[in-house]
């Protein structure tokens, strides 16, 4: 990582435990018990386990891991769709866990937006209204909403589909709408939770290219979740690898490919080598 870039998101010793006895479970996990022991003793599931990382301004930071490794849980901490059991999360140096509901809403409206794996589009609204949603929610004028939305609709190749409804579009088209909605909100940070995982390989590659192309001019901070190392290597400036809610390795794609930290990472890399 380039040391001169200030960190945009700072995660410090975050734990997330699901279940009613989370306090006990937290104490156990801090005594270095394993995830399975905690589950057996308290019935609580450990989502994120003592995780710290920092994400730089303007980088594409990929969080990778198998399903159940806690990557989707982790990314939802950044806009507080999920609150941690313990730990601190700083965005632009501000502790977002201190925000009250109103401050949190303002933060979500202006600073951070999100793209979802199964799109999360509003089925009763047209493509145009879906793309403009973030702007409308924060109270922008109708004219501005329409103008910004149309700009991103055109940029993402959705021209002519403005008045269609989500169910009339293909998967790839729908995710373009999801991406356009996040971009139209014009936030510094975009979270992408397995945004391209539901798409077929060709469309996926096309979307990856488009994202990289746009990032050249946009310089957004993008947190990208995937379970696919190829995708991670292709688009990531840096990659973090998660297993059982723990951070195993962080590094550039080159670091990950050439010096995997342990067997788990190595297996990802080996599989890729075989596939290529």
């Amino acid at each position: 990582m380039n040391m001169t870039t200030p960190s945009k998101i700072e995660v410090k010793n975050v734990f997330k435990i699901f279940g009613s006895r989370s306090k006990e479970a937290l104490a156990l996990i801090q005594q270095h018990k394993t995830k399975d022991q905690v589950l057996a003793q308290t019935g609580c599931v450990v989502g994120v386990n003592d995780l710290s990382l920092s994400i730089g301004t303007g980088e594409i930071f990929v969080i990778m891991g198998l399903s159940g490794s806690g990557k989707s849980t982790l990314v939802r901490h950044f806009n507080r769709l999920i609150d941690p059991t313990s730990g601190a999360i700083l965005v632009d140096g501000q502790d977002i866990l201190q925000y009250d509901m109103e401050a949190l809403r303002q933060f979500r409206r202006h600073k951070i937006s999100m793209v979802f794996q199964s799109f999360g589009l509003l089925p009763h609204k047209s493509v145009l209204d879906n793309v403009a949603y973030g702007l409308k929610v924060r109270g922008e004028s109708k004219a501005l909403c329409a103008e910004r939305a149309l700009h991103w609709i055109n940029t993402l190749g959705l021209k002519g589909y403005e008045s269609k409804y989500p169910h009339q579009l293909s998967g790839g088209m729908r995710q373009r709408v999801g991406l356009a909605r996040a971009l139209a909100a014009d936030t510094d940070i975009i979270l992408m939770d397995e945004a391209f995982s539901a798409l077929d390989p060709l469309i996926r590659a096309e979307m990856q290219d488009q994202l990289l192309e746009m990032q050249k001019t946009l310089h957004k901070t993008i947190v990208f979740i995937t379970h696919d190392l190829d995708e991670a290597v292709r688009i990531g400036n840096r990659i973090a690898i998660l297993k059982d809610g723990r951070l195993i390795q962080v590094g550039t794609p080159k670091d990950i490919l050439h010096s995997p930290a342990d067997d788990y990472v190595d297996r990802f890399v080996q599989r890729r080598a075989v596939a290529v």
Binding site: Q106, M114, G134, V137
Partner: protein, 283 residues
């Protein structure tokens, strides 16, 4: 034989409570009763004074707006014409007025309660058994105290109807909101939508088919109460069914019964059509 020493009765206690309620709050109930009565009587007068062809034209207009189908509209108007043709037009209008007011009150109570139940699991846990009781308790049990509080006539009939007819709307509103896709809710949350924006922008529109099914059920159940309503002095089609039973006039009872069914079919078609999402229809 159940041992005597374990038996007890709440009947006296309930009787005392109802008596006290009537004695102390009679005026309040009388006031509510008068207001309601005023609303029903006015609506009824308007419906009965309106020329028959105007009523049919309005129904035709609503049906056309809801279904966009010529045949359905024609059949519905034809059926209502038939009710008029057997001489039950006036009673039909009385029943319609009673039902519309009961449905309106059910909607005013049911939709907000359904929304609250969808918000809070605790409220839902309390509400659901209450709704079960409202639906299964024989209506005569609560008709007696309602009669004591409001007197004979249309008002107790409306109360009995609302108690019986509101539960499905509450349930289906709750269900409709809970069934809104979790990822959609997550998405609008992630963009910072506040509670009003969530409720009116997304939850209610997406729950609309379910809510309309609830309103449909409410109207159907309200109609099934018209005979009982007529027993406590509400006029209308139920009255003719009742008289038909009492005088062994099977033909008369059947005519009125069929008129109730026709009214049910008309309202069912219209509310169901409004329950279907628009843009999917024109796909």
């Amino acid at each position: 034989m159940f041992p005597e020493r374990f038996t007890f009765s709440v009947a006296d206690w309930v009787n005392g409570w109802v008596d006290a309620l009537v004695a102390n709050y009679g005026d309040v109930f009388r006031h509510i009763s008068d207001t309601l009565l005023w609303a029903i009587v006015n609506l009824e007068t308007v419906l009965r004074m309106a020329p028959w062809w105007l009523v049919l034209a309005v129904v035709a207009g609503i049906t056309w707006h809801a279904t966009r189908k010529v045949t359905t509209t024609a059949v519905i108007v034809g059926l209502l014409f038939l009710v008029g043709a057997v001489g039950l037009w006036d009673k039909l209008m009385q029943t319609l007025a009673l039902m519309l007011v009961a449905t309106l009150i059910s909607v005013l109570i049911g939709i907000p309660l359904g929304i609250l139940a969808a918000r809070s699991n605790r409220l839902r846990a309390v509400l659901m058994p209450v709704l079960d009781i409202m639906q299964t308790m024989p209506s005569f049990v609560y008709l007696i105290p309602v009669l004591m509080l409001f007197g004979l006539g249309k008002v107790p009939a409306i109360f009995a109807t609302v108690i019986y007819a509101a539960p499905p709307l509450i349930r289906l509103t709750d269900l409709g909101i809970r069934q809104v896709d979790g990822e959609v809710m997550e998405a609008i949350n992630a963009f910072g939508a506040n509670r009003w924006q969530q409720l009116f922008g997304v939850q209610l529109p997406l729950a609309m088919p379910s809510i309309m099914a609830g309103i449909n059920q409410t109207t159907m159940m309200a109609l099934s109460m018209v005979v009982i309503a007529s027993m406590i002095g509400a006029r209308g089609l139920g009255e003719d069914v009742l008289v038909g039973i009492q005088t062994l006039n099977v033909g008369k009872g059947l005519e009125a019964g069929l008129a109730i069914v026709i009214l049910a079919v008309v309202i069912d078609r219209i509310t169901q059509a409004y329950g279907r999402p628009r843009h999917e229809m024109s796909k």
